[in-house]
């Protein structure tokens, strides 16, 4: 398993073939609707060769690169969450008896394909781990959730570009993936050579690599990869001071900044939908017209909807202020108490995909500055 290897660009499709032969459904980045999204990948022709993304608060544009990099972008609107926790899942179906009771309760098979995630970034590996802890930790794990990531094969890509809203360095979740992958690639583009420096993270990874034409990395290859990592780390578009951030937010529950952000917040829920760790779902019961069968469905929900905190006689979090505060405080503070880590991996999606560009790093900094003065 040790050692660092090299795959030339021209041999890259052999990696995809090796995964396909092992029965993996490969999911990776592809261009659709003027963005880089995740979908099933058949060959390197499906990858976003030569594309990058320009990101700012509330702003994303696909841009042409001057080279043919396959992974020369930051992260897009999709995350691996859609495979770990699908947007809608049928939980069970039952027959309604004459007396109103239920019988023949059946859980539909929830087998997922064996996925290979191609192009997962360091922040995303952290997010997959955090979401796994949420779904599978605690006293009531859902075995179906475990099934989706059990045989996951991960081909990580070390970021060659940081986006304008990235702050993984602040969250200590990147840009370099150190574990949690089967193979990790660093893409290197030189004037006359396009190749990948490959780290092996598991025996399965080594087994796949053995099926792909590759060589040992020489000193120059390692240096080139190291330069990519250092450059990306220096390009972070955002930063977030996480020093005692839990205590900071707990102390500032009544800070006037929450009112200010609430004037801008649309309570549309986009930040939670694009967040790779936001896991809130609702269950909805449906009947057939004849009233003979019922089904229970689990669907993505958001703490920004009124119903999510709805109890008898209304919602606990009726105001935009209370909902934004709940979300940001959960992500950065209460998550530590609940799950032992931050809920934020610094991917920047909530900033980019907020339709009005609300930036949680800016909100947290404003609260901190009110206590400590400007940095």
């Amino acid at each position: 398993m040790d050692g660092v290897h090299v795959i030339e660009r021209n041999d890259f499709d052999a990696l995809l073939d090796a995964l396909t032969r092992r029965g993996y459904a490969i999911v990776g980045p592809t261009v659709r609707d003027q963005a880089i999204v995740y979908d099933e990948i058949a060959s390197s022709a499906d990858l976003p060769a030569g594309w990058t993304d320009e990101q700012e608060a509330g702003h994303y544009r696909l841009r042409r690169r001057e080279d043919e990099a396959l992974f020369g972008y930051a992260v897009g609107p999709h995350s691996w969450k859609q495979y770990q926790l699908p947007a809608e899942v049928k939980l069970w179906r039952a027959r309604v008896d004459q007396d109103g009771g239920l019988s023949n309760v059946t859980e539909p098979p929830r087998e997922s394909p064996r996925y290979a995630f191609l192009g997962a970034r360091s922040c995303e590996l952290h997010a997959v781990g955090i979401l796994d802890r949420v779904l599978l930790g605690g006293s009531h794990p859902d075995p179906a959730d475990a099934g989706r990531t059990k045989d996951l094969f991960i081909v990580a890509v070390q970021c060659g570009e940081a986006g304008g809203t990235c702050f993984c360095v602040s969250m200590k979740t990147g840009p370099v993936a150190e574990r949690g992958f089967d193979l990790a690639l660093t893409e290197v583009l030189e004037e006359h050579r396009h190749y990948f420096v490959v780290e092996v993270g598991s025996e399965r990874g080594a087994d796949v690599l053995a099926d792909v034409p590759h060589g040992e990395a020489v000193e120059e290859d390692r240096t080139a990869a190291g330069a990519v990592h250092a450059r990306t780390a220096s390009q972070m578009g955002r930063e977030l001071d996480v020093t005692e951030i839990k205590e900071l937010l707990y102390r500032n529950y009544d800070h006037p900044r929450w009112e200010e952000v609430a004037e801008r917040c649309l309570t549309c829920g986009n930040c939670t939908m694009v967040c790779p760790t936001c896991f809130c779902t609702t269950v909805e019961d449906v009947t057939d017209l004849a009233g003979e069968h019922v089904e229970r469905h689990q669907r993505w929900d958001s703490c920004f909807t009124v119903d999510y905190s709805g109890i008898h006689d209304g919602a606990v979090r009726g105001s935009a202020k209370s909902r934004y505060r709940q979300w940001m405080t959960h992500k950065l503070a209460t998550w530590h108490d609940q799950f032992g880590t931050s809920g934020c991996v610094g991917c920047g999606r909530c900033i980019t995909w907020c339709p009005v560009g609300i930036d949680l790093t800016e909100e947290a900094a404003a609260i901190r500055e009110s206590e400590e003065g400007p940095k």
């Binding site: 004037e263 649309l266 549309c268 019961d285 009233g291 958001s302 339709p355």
Partner: protein, 255 residues
């Protein structure tokens, strides 16, 4: 199920284009099952044969724009155990509520040779402005799956799965890339009531707000960010749900 247990359904039309009530006939695969559970007692678009009331459930389409209709809706309410309004006209006044921002007498003089024959109100108002309503289904037109869900929920005495959150949630659930953030296309999705399934953004267009304002909408923030001129913002909000409170306030703020 015994025939005696069948509930009766009536469909009523006020000022409207009939599109929403036709959604009922559009339920081709479910219509027979529906007819087995409900006696369709009054539905003039489907049959001129009617059964006298009272009715268990009435679907009401259209807005109130004439003195005659303002009286008629009271009679409909009186003969209906449950009253469900369907569509933007019935829930918000519809496109014809554009009259609320203008001089209706001036319109009648311009349009009709003998305006004296026209008996119309100065405003187009939703059904809920006249009688109590048990459930409102938004949309111009309504989504037929949602109509079926409301009827299904009524028949099975459960809460309808009709959520009032943003269209954005529907876009994200189906994996649609945000047209506003990624393309710079103006979109009302963040202030608009879900229900259509986020059709327009899936076809590369911004949301037109056909389903009216969502719960807790914040048009002022969206408008400020959009960079659109006041004139355009007035037009954006003055379509099928022009008179719905938050959209009306939004358009008036830019006049």
């Amino acid at each position: 199920m015994a025939a005696a247990a069948k509930k009766t359904l009536a469909v009523w039309k006020f000022s409207s284009c009939d599109g929403c009530q036709l959604s009922l006939l559009d339920l081709e695969d479910e219509l027979l099952t529906l007819a087995a559970r409900l006696e369709i007692a009054q539905f003039l678009e489907a049959s001129s044969a009617t059964v006298a009331g009272p009715y268990d459930v009435s679907l009401v389409e259209g807005s109130i724009t004439t003195p005659h209709d303002a009286e008629r809706i009271r009679a409909v309410r009186a003969c209906s155990r449950a009253l469900i309004t369907i569509g933007a006209c019935a829930t918000a006044g519809g496109i014809q509520a554009l009259r609320n921002f203008a001089d209706v007498e001036e319109f009648t003089r311009a349009v009709y040779a003998s305006p004296d024959y026209i008996s119309t109100l100065a405003t187009s108002t939703p059904i809920s402005a006249h009688v109590p309503v048990d459930f409102e289904l938004n949309g111009c037109p309504i989504n037929k799956r949602q109509l079926l869900e409301v009827i299904n929920a009524y028949l099975n005495a459960r809460r309808p799965r009709v959520r009032a959150h943003s269209v954005c949630v529907e876009c994200k659930r189906r994996g649609t890339v945000c047209v506003m953030v990624a393309h710079g296309t103006p979109c009302l999705g963040p202030v608009t009531h879900a229900g259509c399934g986020a059709i327009c953004p899936a076809y590369d267009r911004g949301c037109y707000g056909c389903f009216g304002p969502k719960e807790t909408p914040n048009p002022a923030s969206l408008d400020h960010w959009s960079g659109l001129e006041d004139r355009d913002l007035v037009r954006v909000y003055r379509t099928y749900n022009a008179a719905a409170g938050p959209f009306r306030n939004a358009s008036e703020a830019h006049e």
